[in-house]
């Protein structure tokens, strides 16, 4: 909107002389705008909005891909809530979100604090720590992870040095989820960069003043850094929890496409995928997808509601 208002192309005198011509010109400009946007709009309608509306409809049907969908009302949802595997997938996903998100953010913040200090080779360190985020989502890393956490591999041998003989994590239903958590934490680069940007914004005077008042580093972190970067922290918490709810690739690859053993890595999306593409229950899968959307929306709403209590915006302080 501001762009249109500030557009300086038209001489001021002409506007009052011929308002109709100006309106026509604006309309043409709008038309051109829509024309340029049309690939995106078409893509959005065809590839995003269309499928979403279709899946909302399928969520209330029984649909095996071959015969036309049959309306079953809320049946998919009622069977879903009673399905022990669905319950298991919720449990696994919540466990993953609750463990992986805070750990990842803690590490990201820790490293960001270290990298915020001026020192030689700073750019190199930042690039190095960010690197895993670039390649982390790839299938090959999933395979590397499988190899690292297998029986008698690096992790297993290291554990044994400390007297922890649990065998590899991959085949063990009690441990394999932590291999996924580790993979998530390893990719802390993206939130780290955001934290770095936040840390740069903290005014140095505050630290200087606090130092004069005799505040130690811990106190300065707790009373200055944390409140000052809380908007960034909020953003990261929001983004990372939404990501964590949607984890799929790593669970699928590390468990060798089975989301197991014994359903131990049956994260929500993994079960959704199995239902949709292996068992051809698209109605059920759609119902699952929409339940996830609603759950994530609820979590987001709760986070937004909670920010009043802990997120500190500078404007409010002024």
């Amino acid at each position: 909107m501001t762009l249109v208002k500030e557009a300086p192309v038209r001489p001021a005198g002409k506007r009052s002389a011929a308002p109709a011509a100006g309106r026509r010109g604006r309309r043409r400009e709008n038309l051109a705008g829509y024309l340029f946007m049309s690939p995106w709009i078409a893509g959005f309608l065809l590839l995003t909005a269309g499928p979403m509306i279709a899946s909302l409809y399928y969520a209330f049907t029984s649909y095996n891909l071959f015969t036309p969908p049959q309306w079953v009302g809320l049946d998919n949802f009622t069977t879903m809530f009673q399905d022990p595997r669905w319950q298991k997938s919720v449990e696994v996903t919540l466990k993953y979100v609750v463990v992986a998100t805070p750990l990842k953010l803690l590490l990201a913040l820790g490293v960001a604090l270290l990298l915020a200090q001026k020192r030689r080779g700073q750019g190199l360190y930042r690039a190095a720590f960010y690197m895993p985020s670039l390649i982390g989502a790839s299938v090959s890393v999933g395979f590397v992870w499988r190899a690292l956490f297998s029986d008698d591999a690096v992790v297993d041998r290291t554990q044994k040095i400390f007297g922890l003989d649990v065998g590899g994590w991959i085949g063990n239903p009690d441990y394999i989820i932590y291999a996924l958590v580790a993979l998530s934490i390893w990719q802390f680069g993206a939130p780290m960069v955001i934290f770095l940007a936040g840390l740069k914004q903290v005014p140095q005077e505050l630290y200087e003043a606090a130092e004069v008042d005799g505040a130690g580093p811990l106190r300065r972190f707790w009373n200055i850094t944390l409140p000052m970067i809380s908007p960034v922290l909020f953003f990261n918490v929001l983004l990372e929890s939404i990501h964590a709810f949607q984890v799929f690739g790593s669970a699928y690859v590390v468990s060798d496409t089975r989301c197991g053993p014994a359903d131990a890595t049956l994260v929500y999306t993994c079960y959704l995928y199995q239902k949709g593409f292996k068992e051809a229950q698209m109605g059920f899968a759609s119902a699952m997808a929409w339940t996830l959307v609603i759950a994530v929306a609820l979590v987001t709403a709760v986070l937004f509601w909670s920010q009043k209590k802990w997120v500190h915006y500078e404007e409010a302080a002024k």
Binding site: A32, D151, G171
Partner: protein
């Protein structure tokens, strides 16, 4: 001046946008080709699953076919087993499956019910497909409700693959007609003498449980349902779990770790039940020598065995049914093709191909000898039906059995779980 330049630029961009849109349309129409072309050349899509050796061999057979039928071009598509069926399901539901594809008994009724499979009888009647010279009545494997919806390319049967060196060292012998008790005693001896597990996890294999049930007058499937009771399965899994805990059967955690390698070739156990043609793969994977041994029995005679098959099926909506039939006929009958494929998909199904291929290496010879022995013993029965949804049930059996082995689910609960999942699968 400034305004007119703006207009000019806009016009140019509009033209550019319009031409891009047209190019896009062009691309979509180009995708919608039906595989035919002006000079009468027909293109067929042919899809299969399997490892690299199979793909190399099949590509050679395609080249051979294209040489003999210059008017037919074959476009290959291949992936591994899991990905194959996921992809196929999506393609088939979109009305765009390959013209010819590899198939197996667990999927016949499922895709027949959905109208995807071409009844090849009409093409056989028209003389485009030869249904003669199939060995041991194996042609029946591709028949459902009087329709011929698949043609076998190979036949195989379940076997016990053993680590020959381990069995020799432990001094145990696997002989025809041995009983389950004798088999488990052998596992005990192996464990006592060699300190390794005897088996990799027999109780999770649906096809082996099928044999066991057949030995006891039942079967895994009926036409529409499961052919056994919850109590049967509880017992089977309870015994299995007991043997995991006592170390007769390998630790499932370790078996899971070495995947996709088999526990047998990884040296975690001395034997494994599987299809006999799979034994060829172990030689490449593992360090020991591997051989085929008979299936244990309940009564010392009946093994419950039958000949299973990998087959070729065609899409009911193919635009070129005649060419498809010619292609399948060539692939199952041509002696040269038999020589190239060997026993990769099981013992060659037709006499022409069987006679043409004379195995020279120990593995293929072993498979041939095993099947001959089984046929001679006269134990071969007819294949049991696989209702629609059998593939989902097999996956559930493997998964739930894995939960039992890991100690995560009690056998009785696990059996209940399988029955409820099977019910849903048959309904779908």
């Amino acid at each position: 001046m400034g305004t007119s330049r703006n207009v000019e630029r806009r016009t140019i961009l509009k033209v550019a946008g319009a031409s891009a849109a047209v190019a896009g349309l062009g691309a979509t129409t180009a995708c919608g080709g039906d595989g035919g072309s002006g000079d009468g050349t027909v293109t067929l899509r042919y899809a299969w699953w399997g490892g690299e050796p199979r793909t190399i061999a099949i590509k050679k057979t395609i080249a051979l076919f294209e040489k003999k039928y210059p008017k037919i071009k074959i476009k290959p598509e291949f992936t591994d087993y899991e990905a194959f069926w996921e992809k196929f399901q999506t393609q088939a539901s979109g009305g765009n499956p390959p013209d010819v594809f590899q198939n197996a008994v667990g999927f016949l009724r499922k895709y027949d019910k959905r109208g995807v499979l071409l009844d090849l009888k009409a093409q056989a009647d028209a003389g485009n497909l030869d249904l003669d010279n199939f060995r041991n009545g194996v042609l029946a494997n591709g028949q459902v409700d009087g329709k011929q919806i698949a043609i076998p390319v190979g036949a195989n049967t379940m076997a016990l693959v053993i680590d020959v060196k381990a069995f020799e060292k432990a001094g145990v012998e696997a002989k025809f007609g041995w009983t389950w008790d004798e088999y488990f005693d052998a596992l005990q001896t192996i464990q006592d003498k060699l300190k390794i597990a005897g088996d990799t996890g027999y109780f999770n294999i649906m096809y082996l449980y099928d044999l066991y049930l057949r030995q006891n007058g039942k079967a895994f499937f009926t036409d529409t349902d499961l052919g056994f009771t919850e109590d049967d399965l509880t017992q089977w899994w309870e015994d299995g779990y007991k043997r995991v805990r006592s170390g007769l059967v390998a630790d499932p955690k370790k078996i899971e770790q070495v995947k996709p390698k088999s526990g047998l070739s990884a040296g975690l156990a001395a034997s494994e039940f599987t299809w006999d043609n799979f034994s060829i793969r172990y030689e490449g994977e593992g360090e020991s020598d591997y051989g085929l041994a008979p299936i244990p029995t309940t009564d010392g005679k009946d093994t419950g065995q039958y000949l299973g098959s990998l087959m070729l099926s065609a899409f009911s909506g193919t635009k070129h049914p005649k060419e498809v039939a010619q292609f399948i006929s060539f692939m199952v009958h041509d002696p040269e093709v038999g020589k190239i494929m060997g026993y990769d998909r099981g013992i060659l199904a037709t006499t022409e191909q069987y006679d043409a291929f004379k195995p020279t290496d120990a593995n293929n010879k072993g498979v041939a000898a095993y099947e001959e022995e089984v046929a001679k013993a006269g134990v071969l029965g007819k294949i049991t039906p696989h209702p629609s949804g059998a593939d989902v049930v097999e996956a559930a059996f493997l998964r739930i059995g894995g939960e039992v082995a890991q100690g995560k689910t009690k056998p009785a609960d696990a059996a209940k779980k399988l029955f409820s999942e099977a019910k849903a699968a048959f309904a779908g």
